[in-house]
Symmetry: C2
Subunit: 280 residues, 2 copies
């Protein structure tokens, strides 16, 4: 196994996931993960470019950044690549008028979007908004369309809050896909377009950047498929069965990852179990 200096050769920038890497959400705004405030401060003092690449879709970028700043993180709105603004660009480019199945906390991002007479559905991490009534309405809108379009802000399976694991948008995206016999378009990680837009904003090529996240699919595999390097931290949703070779997920494809005890907050390389002290 190559030394860390060698494995990180040529890296000029770091993309950081937020939930499960910097903090765990939850009641009262959540809590920073031990050491993450200091790790980010150290990264910012280094020569490396830093950008935040998140699938957060319950909060607007402004609210997310405000909350993180209150927790002590050195972060500004312009440093964040998030799926809601990316979705608005797509809607405008394609003349799509969405029926929105989203959390009230992110609704302000869609203030400039025409939602009259919907010709598509946009689904995000709606949390408690994923009621049967709201899901059924989205389903009915899709079934009435000649060419149903479903945009999903990420396809994460779950995330970790301080109170435990929580269903993310992915399962609900799958539910609508199955109900309507369609395939959603994912805006956010692991979409290559999403990683590329983050790289563009950093002014870097894929081989010059490393993604750090807690999701073996959305963060690690997604970034690697774009030609980036990637590190999985052992915080957030990390489970001991995660392996870097794992693809997916999809019913019938994704092997069950055995539940295991959550490790501490020490990040390490998912490939080799080495603590990435070169980064942190």
């Amino acid at each position: 196994m190559a030394a860390w200096g060698e494995r990180l050769a040529g890296v000029r920038g770091v993309l950081l996931d937020i939930s499960g890497v910097l903090y765990d959400g939850g009641e009262g705004g959540g809590a920073p993960i031990a050491g993450s405030v200091e790790a980010l401060a150290r990264l910012k003092r280094s020569q490396l470019k830093v950008r935040f690449c998140t699938n957060e879709s319950q909060k607007s970028r402004g609210d997310l950044v405000g909350m993180l700043r209150r927790l002590g993180f050195d972060i500004s709105e312009g440093e964040v690549t998030a799926p809601a603004p990316a979705t608005c660009l797509i809607l405008k480019e394609r003349g799509l008028r969405p029926h929105l199945l989203i959390h009230d906390g992110v609704r302000s991002e869609f203030d400039q979007i025409d939602t009259s007479n919907p010709n598509c559905v946009v689904i995000a991490d709606a949390g408690e908004g994923f009621s049967y009534q709201n899901m059924n309405k989205a389903f009915q809108v899709l079934m009435e369309l000649e060419n149903p379009v479903l945009l999903s802000l990420g396809k994460g399976r779950y995330y970790k809050e301080t109170s435990g694991l929580m269903l993310d948008v992915g399962p609900y995206m799958k539910a609508l896909e199955y109900a309507c016999g369609i395939e959603a378009e994912v805006v956010g990680k692991p979409s290559p377009e999403f990683f590329k837009s983050a790289l563009r904003e950093m002014g870097l090529e894929a081989h010059q950047a490393i993604m750090i996240g807690d999701d073996i699919m959305g963060d690690v595999s997604g970034a690697q498929r774009c030609g980036m390097r990637a590190l999985q931290v052992r915080t957030g949703k990390f489970r001991s069965g995660d392996t870097s070779g794992q693809q997916g997920p999809g019913p019938g494809k994704d092997s069950r990852r055995p539940p295991g005890p959550r490790r501490g907050s020490q990040p390490s390389c998912v490939c080799c179990d080495v603590q990435p002290s070169a980064v942190r």
Copy 2:
């Protein structure tokens, strides 16, 4: 195309789906589909054995039969094959203690089942019970199990009520499958075991029976895979794009069936567009 008499040669029994074939559910108990009360009465007067084979999982068999009798149908509880009683048998046989994500209307079917310290999840058409909180609880139970078992009472995509199309249990089953990286065990149509138990109760072999339903997958393909003949009615969830060759559904496999105008209440063979007057 063979004549109807020839195509139905040797048929000694009829299995009837209920929702979308006999009636459409909805506010106030729903409404009979035009002609169905009379068609059932005629079948009962014939030499054919009649059994009802339903995936209804919001109501107990007793409540379902009571409601149908009030609508004018000649039906008794002992004539109905339904997934909740079949699930209870499986739970007892395998020593499974379920966490139940089900509608209150069917809860009485599980009165004799031990639900302490759950080692599996049972999901049925919970309707409004499919809240985010309830889905998340089922997800968390599964994620805590070493060998997670998910039993689903059917896997229908949707059904038709008088107010419109409604999400069935299938999409929520898919959501939990995706979230947990597991595959559910389906109890109900199109499970071969379920059709076989209905045939056993009729004392018939598969080649002696015909299934009549509105679901091209759950009813028609499912029965055909068991060696039975099958007819699709053009009521209930029938949509003009349904074809008998269609398999599925599953994300990425099930081609989008184009929405089309709902036809009238005339049942016909899905293969050849002939009105099955020999049956009705």
